[in-house]
C-alpha cells in the first residue's frame, strides 16, 4: 500500500498493511534536526513563522518555508500524512504582529502571545476582546484573502505531488474564542452572566473558523483536523450542558463543511473527554486524537468507539519521547498498537505533538518500531 491507501484504510476502519504514522505538529528544532540528519539541503533558515514579532512578507514567507520543511521532514520520516496547513499560521503578506512589550505581541487572531526562549515555547497569555465595543471592532482573519489563498497553494503544490495525505488543522470556535477573550475564566463567566455577548463572540470566531475550513477544503486538503482543546486531565473544561449549548453546534458545522466537500473531519483534544465523548462522536467525526495517556485509556476507547471512529495517538510525549530510552519508546509504541491496532482503525502519532523537547532519536525509534511491530496481521498481544 502507498501512504494514502494505508492512511485511508485505517480511517475507514479497515486493516492496512502497516499501522499508519503521522503527527499533528513538529516544532522547528525537530524539523531542523531531522533535515540535518537526513542531509537535506535547506536553502532558508526555518523560522518560527507566524509565532514571532517580525511579521509582514517575511513572516508570510517564513511560514511557507517552515510548513514545507515540516512536510519534507515528515516525508523523510516515512510518515503517511502531514499537517501541511494550520489556521494559526495562515496570514496575509502585510500581517504584522503588534508588540505589547519586549516579550508579548498580539497575533492575527487577536490573542496576546508571549515567548519563552528558555521554555522553547510561545503561548497565549491574554486577549483583546473584553467589551461589546471591542467585540464589535474585532476582525478575525479572513481565510479567503488572496494572500492566504496564495500561501495555501504555495504550501500544497509540492506536497500534492507526493502520495502523502494532506491534513489541515483548523478550529471550530471555543479555543480561539476563549483565547481572544483573554482566558477560560472570562468566557465561562460570560457563558453564565453575559450570554448574548458570549454567543456573539463564539459566533464571530466560529464563522471565521468555518471560512478557514471551507478554504482549506477548497484548496484540496485530504483531511480536516479540528484542534480545539475541550478538557484537562480531570475532565471537560466546561460542563456538558455549556458544551452542548455554546460549542457543539460549531463543531457540527465544521463536520458538515467537511461532508459537503467530501473531506473527512477528525477531532483533536487533550484531556479526559469521557463526559462529552458521545456528543463529539455523534457529530460525525471520523477520527479522534490523541486519547491522552493518563487521562483516558486507549484500549477502553477502542472497545467503546472503535467500530465508529478511527483513533490516532498516543505515544507519550510528556515523558517517553523527551526522556525515554530506546526500549521505553519501543514499549510505548507496542502498547499503542496492542491497545488499538486490532482490525485497523488506528493511526500512530505522539500524544500531542513532536514538540521542541522531544528527543529526535526517539522519533526515529518510534517510526522504526511502528513499522516493525505495526505490520498486519498484528501479533496477538501478550
Amino acid at each position: 500500500m502507498n501512504h494514502r491507501e494505508r492512511f485511508f484504510a485505517a480511517l475507514e476502519l479497515r486493516e492496512p498493511d502497516l499501522v499508519p504514522i503521522t503527527d499533528l505538529g513538529l516544532d522547528p528544532p525537530i524539523v531542523q534536526a531531522i533535515l540535518r540528519r537526513e542531509g537535506a539541503v535547506q536553502s532558508k533558515r526555518i523560522g518560527k513563522g507566524v509565532l514571532s514579532l517580525t511579521g509582514g512578507s517575511e513572516t508570510w514567507g517564513s511560514s511557507i518555508t517552515y510548513r514545507l520543511a515540516m512536510a519534507e521532514a515528515c516525508r523523510r520520516l516515512d510518515f503517511d500524512a502531514v499537517a501541511a496547513l494550520s489556521d494559526y499560521s495562515l496570514t496575509t503578506k502585510n500581517y504584522k504582529a503588534k508588540p505589547v512589550d519586549d516579550k508579548r505581541f498580539v497575533d492575527q487572531w487577536g490573542r496576546v502571545m508571549q515567548t519563552s526562549v528558555e521554555g522553547k515555547t510561545t503561548y497565549f497569555v491574554g486577549g483583546t476582546v473584553g467589551t461589546p465595543e471591542s467585540l464589535e471592532d474585532y476582525e478575525p482573519p479572513d481565510a479567503f484573502d488572496p494572500d492566504i489563498t496564495e500561501m495555501m497553494e504555495r504550501i500544497l503544490k509540492p506536497v500534492r505531488s507526493e502520495d502523502t495525505v494532506i491534513m489541515a488543522q483548523c478550529h471550530s470556535a471555543w479555543h480561539l474564542a476563549f483565547q481572544v477573550r483573554g482566558g477560560i475564566d472570562k468566557i465561562v463567566v460570560d457563558f453564565y452572566r453575559n450570554r448574548s455577548f458570549a454567543r456573539k463572540l463564539m459566533d464571530k470566531v466560529g464563522r471565521a473558523c468555518q471560512r478557514f475550513a471551507e478554504a482549506m477544503a477548497e484548496a484540496g486538503v485530504d483531511v480536516l483536523f479540528v484542534t480545539d482543546d475541550y478538557a484537562d486531565n480531570h475532565g471537560p473544561l466546561m460542563s456538558p450542558k455549556l458544551f452542548r449549548e455554546y460549542e457543539l453546534p460549531y463543531l457540527k458545522r465544521i463536520v458538515e463543511i467537511g461532508k459537503k466537500h467530501g473531506v473527512p473531519v477528525m477531532k483533536h483534544s487533550d484531556g479526559n473527554l469521557y463526559p462529552i465523548l458521545d456528543d463529539i462522536v455523534n457529530t460525525g467525526i471520523v477520527g479522534l486524537h490523541p486519547i491522552e495517556p493518563g487521562a483516558m485509556d486507549l484500549r477502553d476507547v477502542k472497545e467503546r468507539y472503535g467500530d465508529r471512529i478511527c483513533l490516532l495517538g498516543n505515544v507519550d510525549c510528556r515523558y517517553v519521547l523527551p526522556y525515554g530510552r530506546e526500549k521505553d519508546v519501543r514499549r510505548d509504541v507496542r502498547r499503542c498498537v496492542d491497545a488499538a491496532g486490532k482490525g485497523g482503525g488506528f493511526i500512530l502519532a505522539s500524544s500531542n505533538s513532536l514538540h521542541a523537547n522531544v528527543k529526535v532519536e526517539n522519533v526515529y525509534t518510534m517510526v522504526d518500531e511502528a513499522r516493525k511491530y505495526g505490520r498486519y496481521p498484528l501479533r496477538e498481544a501478550a
Binding site: 453564565y192 471537560p236 515523558y319
Partner: protein
C-alpha cells in the same frame, strides 16, 4: 437563612447569593465570620461536586465568581472587623513556562476561601519567587508548570528557598498536568495537588 445563602453559592446563583447576603446583614442574622464560614462550606460542596464530575471547571470558575460578587459587599465589614486573611499564598508558574490556566483557577479558589494570594504570573525565576515569599511572609508557596521540561525549576526554587533560609518557614505545593507524587518527592516539595480543589484542601489542612 444562612442555608439559603450557601445554597445560592452551590447553585451558582449570583443574584440569589447577593440578595440573601444583604438580607442576612440587614437583619443582623449573621456575622461576617459566619458569612465566611458559610462560603467555606459552600465551596466544599462545590469542590465535592467537581470531584464527582457533577460540576466541571466552568462551575468552579462560576462559584468563584459568585463568591467574588459577595466579597465585594463584605469587604468594608471585613476590614471593620479587622478580620485577617487566613494566610498568604505566593503563586507562580515557574521560569520557562507560560501555561497558567490551572494556577489562575487555584488563585481564584484560594481567594474565595479567605487566603491572600500574591500571584507572580508566569515564567517567574526562582530568585523572584523567594523574594516574594520573604516580603509577604508567605506561609504557602504554590508552583505550577505544564511542561515536563520545566519541572526541574521546582528544584531550583526549593534550593533558592534553602539558600535564603526560607524553606522551613513556607510549605511548598506543586501542580500541573504532568505533575505527580514522584515529582513532588524528587524536588523536595511538601505536596502536589492533582486539581485546584485538592490544592485548596491541602492548603487549608496545613493551617489547622
Amino acid at each position: 437563612m444562612i442555608d439559603r445563602f450557601e445554597e445560592s453559592i452551590v447553585k451558582l446563583d449570583v443574584e440569589g447569593a447577593v440578595d440573601v447576603y444583604k438580607k442576612l446583614i440587614r437583619s443582623s442574622k449573621a456575622s461576617v465570620d459566619e458569612i465566611f464560614e458559610a462560603i467555606g462550606r459552600a465551596l466544599d460542596v462545590v469542590g465535592r461536586k467537581y470531584e464527582d464530575k457533577e460540576y466541571f471547571l466552568s462551575e468552579l470558575i462560576m462559584a468563584g465568581e459568585v463568591v467574588k460578587e459577595v466579597l465585594k459587599l463584605v469587604e468594608p465589614k471585613y476590614k471593620g472587623d479587622e478580620r485577617k486573611a487566613i494566610a498568604t499564598v505566593v503563586l507562580a508558574t515557574v521560569r520557562g513556562d507560560l501555561h497558567d490556566i490551572g494556577k489562575n483557577i487555584l488563585a481564584m479558589l484560594l481567594e474565595s476561601s479567605g487566603f491572600k494570594v500574591v500571584d507572580l504570573g508566569n515564567d517567574v525565576p526562582a530568585g523572584r519567587i523567594a523574594k516574594a515569599v520573604r516580603e509577604n511572609s508567605a506561609r504557602i508557596l504554590g508552583l505550577s508548570t505544564l511542561l515536563t521540561t520545566t519541572m526541574p525549576e521546582f528544584g531550583n526554587v526549593v534550593e533558592k528557598l534553602n539558600e535564603e533560609g526560607l524553606r522551613k518557614k513556607v510549605k511548598v505545593i506543586v501542580g500541573g498536568a504532568a505533575v505527580n507524587e514522584d515529582v513532588a518527592k524528587r524536588y523536595g516539595v511538601d505536596a502536589w495537588g492533582k486539581t485546584a480543589v485538592e490544592g485548596v484542601r491541602i492548603c487549608r489542612q496545613w493551617l489547622v
